[in-house]
Amino acid sequence: MIYEGKQKIWSEYQKEIPDDHYFYVRSCIRQSFFPASEATFLDITRNVLEKDIFETEHHTTCGGIAYHSDTIPQETVMTIIARQFALMAKHGYENYVCSCITSFGLYCETMETWREFPELEAKIRENLWKSCKLEFAKPKFLVHASDLIYKYRNQIAAQAVRKLVNVHTGEPLKVVEHIGCHYSKMFPSKGVGGAEYPYVLVGMIEAWGGEIVDYPERRHCCGFGFRQYFIKGNRGYSLSNTHKKFESMEPFKPDLIITNCPGCPYFLDRWQYVIAESTGKTYGQDGHGIPALTYEEVAGLVMGYDPWDLGLQTHQVGVEPLLDKMGVEYDPAKKFLGKNGKDLGSPVPCSCLK
């Protein structure tokens, strides 16, 4: 691997990311899978970095999951999106940041479609007015939440209490980055670093002291694939997809996977259990599996957040070995206690995956 070669490509795919004043929209599934990640994002940006990140409870789903499952007309999806944009404008913002990659991809796709087919845009403008009495608007800058963390990566590093380093050996942690497919594969120029060698997560890892691992199947989808997962008859493909990625990354012995998409950490995490349970194969050291974290969780870890506040207990693959490696102090007894201190109930221990 020639690092300079990658740098050259990264330099060609730099998108403009405004520093402040964003209208923030959440992700449907992240809110339920990893709710602490979005909270962490808001906490870091608002409270630590003191940025103006606005959110409203009136925003809805973008319709992306329905769209990619072929169950919603395009015009409907576009009108939903137009409504989100209109909400942004209504609150006086022109920078739009979303937490979800599916949404991000769909927004990019929709904006491109409007650009190519202005008559469609006119139609949506009309739909929006008819249905919501809202004024049509488009964001000036559309970014993904990971773009913002990428933008702030050095500030975060400056305020970090630890690095992505194995405190016992002093070696940097080996980190696999996994980008959501819809982040830049559809529109390489819309992602930091493009589609082939995306830099958005690599930049964070580099800034926070980790070592990036570039494995052959790095481009592969996490396995979600919408219909591959939703329909049980297809679920084997979803699983096989993830299996292929783990087989490919295994020789590199990664300590950690960092992701920027709602589905990816979920599937890279949960399918490890299913693979272990159905084939007996585990990845990572001593049958522990490889933790797959969101970028907010990783940012939170380096910034010294309590792992249980970051929601790391919601992962199937145990994060304790990673925390130990990083030298993060944690109270095992509090792992399954809620914010209010009440016992959430702990899952049945899994014998196949430690």
């Binding site: 070669g5 060698y197 052959p216 590199f252």
Partner: protein, 351 residues
């Protein structure tokens, strides 16, 4: 009276046209922007289909240019058209009053870095056709150390609209087959794969080359464009393509991947074209007066074109084109140019 003719570009087309026009008695000034004459030919080792040494061909081209005024390391600073002639200021300070200008600005090899998925410049074991020729010339390349499995990717930067080059570069198929053979000659134990979309082996003896590669060297031809290359833990390459003949995706681990970078319009040629006010077509190559009947005349009277400046050409085609251009220059300078009174009318009729 001896007319001055300025020839821009010291590659095979420029050299051949210079030699021909010099023989006809014209005063030829050849300029070349790089320090060395010969263009891409000077960097190549052997030429398809018969694998003759490129140096031999270049030497005979250079030998024939005895007496041509030749400036290397020289570009054009400014050019302005007088009545009939061109006043050309060169970067070496010399000014030439030229009655005809022949542009032989050639081509650039496609910058393989731009096909990001192939990882040229990123993966250690990926190289281009030009790199491989350099290896054949010098025997040195850090990437080549007794490779056991070698792949050749055809059409890198050719027939690829997303890479901005829709057209076929014409020479890469034959080059790939030639290099595959040479690779097998150098490393008989190696397995060699050629990934192609169509094999465009149109010229004389090219099909023989293809047959030889299959029959004598066991080169495996796989119909399908390589879509993705990754680096394995051990530094080998994981290459993915579809075998479109088998209708199945395919993967193979290779020790070396050679990208057949195609022909692109010369970037410096383009800058020159802007100075001369010459039109280029969508594909970036110079427009000609008529693709069939007047392929060596530009759309500007007195400015001629030869070689790959007007699109991808094989070496014999380039040389033939250069000779044709020389004939055209001669015809212009004897039939059109001298008649000062009717010059405009003649240009209208005969250009």
């Amino acid at each position: 009276m001896k007319n001055n003719i300025l020839i821009i570009g010291g590659g095979p087309a420029g050299l051949e046209a210079s030699a021909q026009l010099q023989r006809m008695g014209y005063n030829v000034i050849l300029i070349e922007r790089s320090p060395k004459l010969g263009g891409h030919l000077a960097k190549w080792d052997r030429l398809f289909p018969d694998r003759v040494p490129a140096d031999e061909v270049l030497r005979s081209l250079l030998d024939a240019t005895e007496g041509v005024k030749c400036f290397t390391d020289t570009d054009i600073r400014a050019i302005n058209r007088l009545d009939k002639s061109y006043n050309v200021r060169l970067t070496n300070g010399i000014t030439v009053l030229s009655d005809a200008v022949l542009v032989a600005s050639g081509f650039d090899l496609f910058n393989a870095v731009r096909k990001e998925e192939y990882g040229y410049g990123i993966y250690n074991q990926v190289m281009t056709n030009a790199d491989l020729e350099a290896y054949f010339r010098t025997g040195e390349d850090r990437r080549i150390e007794n490779p056991r499995k070698v792949g050749f990717v055809h059409c890198v930067g050719s027939r690829d609209e997303k890479a901005g080059c829709r057209s076929c570069s014409k020479v890469c198929c034959a080059t790939a087959v030639k290099q595959a053979i040479e690779m097998k000659q150098a490393f008989p134990e190696a397995e060699v794969f050629c990934f192609y979309m169509d094999l465009r082996l149109f010229g004389r003896h090219y099909e023989d080359l293809y047959l030889e590669a299959q029959k004598e060297y066991g080169v495996r031809f796989i119909r399908g464009r390589v879509a993705e290359v990754s680096e394995n833990f051990d530094g080998t390459l994981l290459v993915k393509a579809e075998d479109t003949v088998a209708s199945k995706p395919l993967k193979v681990t290779l020790d070396l991947l050679v990208l057949m970078a195609g022909m692109r319009p010369s970037a410096s040629g383009k800058a020159l074209g802007e100075l001369l006010g010459m039109n280029v077509e969508d594909d970036g190559y110079f427009a000609v007066r008529s693709g069939i009947a007047a392929g060596q005349r530009s759309q500007q009277p007195g400015i001629f074109l030869a070689g790959a400046a007007t699109g991808p050409k094989t070496l014999p085609e380039t040389l033939a084109d250069a000779r044709a251009a020389a004939m055209e220059v001669d015809r212009y300078l004897t039939e059109v140019f001298p008649d000062a009174r009717n010059y405009k009318q003649l240009v209208k009729e005969r250009w």
